[in-house]
Symmetry: C2
Subunit: 335 residues, 2 copies
């Protein structure tokens, strides 16, 4: 046993030396879709200083928490949040069981294909659509429905699967952070149970590291089988000042790095920055009309207000130009 322990220790030492060397070369190679420049440099510098043992900015691995918004930060969000496409497809699928929807807004307009009229009812209309399409089943049934949809549904403009519209540079960033012993979390205004069925496969982020908005669930025993029923009642909105609340509730530690793209992420970045020690805050700016979409202060989806831009400048947050900082937008070499 003593000999085995000795060999094990020896292996750990050799392993560590090789791995340390790999880490150095990784920094240059790990972000191939990022153009060399200030944005990429700010990420690499931050990771280098928090991972360097003995550095005044060193952060123990357990504290290396990085949080990512999803819509507009890890995947696209135009012309509307992808979860809303899911909800609209669900309205169509459920319509035969709801003859009353033919005359009842916002469903009537939706079924006629007039999304704009349906959403004219604002937040109230959206909540009605979400409740009608996300509740009334068990957590297992809902997971199956999401998995089937995400595997087949395609974006109306690009014709891609929605999971093909994730940002290649951000996938590289997630992998790079995890290679440096960061624990990566999603903190999104989107539905927690809408994301969990596919985030592990697409982003390498397991269900227990996904924070999002939710409806209430209720434990019931149906025909001798325990189930969680999804109720048509809001539980939590994980957006704006809800994001620090959700982070505290789920993670219980303050992140040292936060990545967002819109006004909904402002408080998450403020909360991250307010901790002690080295911090990194980043916003993705959608300014690439050719390869993705260009939008900002006037967009209803993913609003990036002038006030947010001013705060980013003042607070030293890194603002990524998709046009100038990214060589590729989506995976598989296509631009």
């Amino acid at each position: 046993m003593a000999i085995k322990r000795f060999i094990l220790t020896l292996l750990i030492v050799v392993w560590s030396l090789i791995f340390a060397d790999l880490t150095v070369s990784q920094a240059a190679e790990a972000l191939p879709s990022w153009k060399d420049g200030q944005a990429k440099q700010s990420i690499v510098s931050f990771v280098a200083k928090v991972t360097k043992a003995g550095s005044p900015d060193f952060v123990p691995t357990a504290e290396r928490i990085a949080v990512f918004d999803n819509d507009g930060t890890l995947w696209s969000e135009q012309p509307m949040y992808f979860q809303l496409f899911f909800a609209l497809d669900r309205v169509k699928a459920l319509a035969p069981q709801h003859p009353e929807w033919k005359t009842q807004e916002p469903f009537a307009s939706l079924l006629k294909g007039d999304v704009k009229a349906a959403l004219a009812g604002g937040e109230k209309a959206i909540i009605e659509i979400v409740m009608a399409t996300h509740a009334g089943n068990t957590t297992e049934e809902f997971e199956r429905i999401v998995k089937d949809w995400i595997a087949t549904a395609k974006h109306p403009k690009t014709g891609k699967l929605y999971t093909e519209m994730v940002f290649q540079p951000m996938l590289e960033l997630l992998t790079y952070l995890r290679a440096n012993d960061f624990k990566t979390f999603i903190v999104s205004g989107g539905g927690i149970e809408f994301m969990r069925p596919w985030t592990e496969q697409v982003y390498g982020i397991p269900p227990e590291q996904v924070v999002g908005s939710s409806i209430q669930t209720k434990y019931e025993v149906v025909d001798g089988k325990p189930v969680l029923m999804r109720l048509a009642k809001l539980n939590f909105i994980d957006d704006k000042d809800g994001k620090p609340v959700g982070i505290n509730q789920h993670i219980g530690r303050r992140p040292i790095a936060a990545f967002g793209n819109s006004d909904g992420d402002q408080q998450m970045l403020e909360w991250t920055q307010a901790g002690s020690g080295a911090r990194f805050m980043m916003l993705v700016h959608h300014d690439d009309a050719k390869r993705e979409w260009a939008y900002g202060p006037k967009s209803h989806v993913g609003t990036f207000s002038d006030a947010l831009m001013a705060e980013a400048r003042k607070s030293g947050w890194t603002v990524i130009s998709m046009k100038d900082d990214w060589k590729a937008i989506y995976p598989s070499g296509k631009k």
Copy 2:
């Protein structure tokens, strides 16, 4: 680089062989405070079958989720929940700022040292005490208060620190499961923010793997500094049918192993068992009046009803006798 990759691969192979061998010998050595017998055997058999590659019961590491109740399962809970001792100490500390408590129940009785009279008000009295002592500060302030208390407060009967009243056999079980690539979570009716400041050090369970009851928090910027204020409003009760709800909300996967000790854990064990594949459910039975406490169906704290015992027998759950199955109760050799 190619040579380095080759060496790395070689190391991984050697490492795996040594580690596989260690795992086999670990099973016998990892639970020294457990007497040999049916209870210990049921744990070891379960772990062996879900970790054996190629076995029909094999479970991939990502799915190896184990959940543990805290009060009565990982540490003692008599003569009352330890968090209530914390609350009572807080009442005394805060009393100078609350002259009205001298005449106002349940505080008046508490300050006179009459805990029984104070708690005669039942759940309402307890909630009043919790709100008065757990809210009204920031998450950072509360964390500091808990850390100070847990480092110094002592149990009135044993004279031990509360963190010395954790169960040695359960500490070994946590370590054993993690050595077999389980991810261990606490799922407790206790306050999530009361547990997080010390669970990592005491149990090796990080804050992001603690699920518990909570009050609401609110994001505010005070003097330019973002804080989360703790409000005197209930957010979530993680007990009984709240446990599967809390597990789904925080973890988003169904556990394959669940450990509890009272009626409050029944639904958590049912929910765990209702998944497909190999499952393990265990209840700690407090039947050791000499070394700990003996209580059961008639106890107000940690009730283990006859109905729960009947369900355990019927469903094949392992019931641990602290008296017969454990060589030691608390760490450091003391019994």
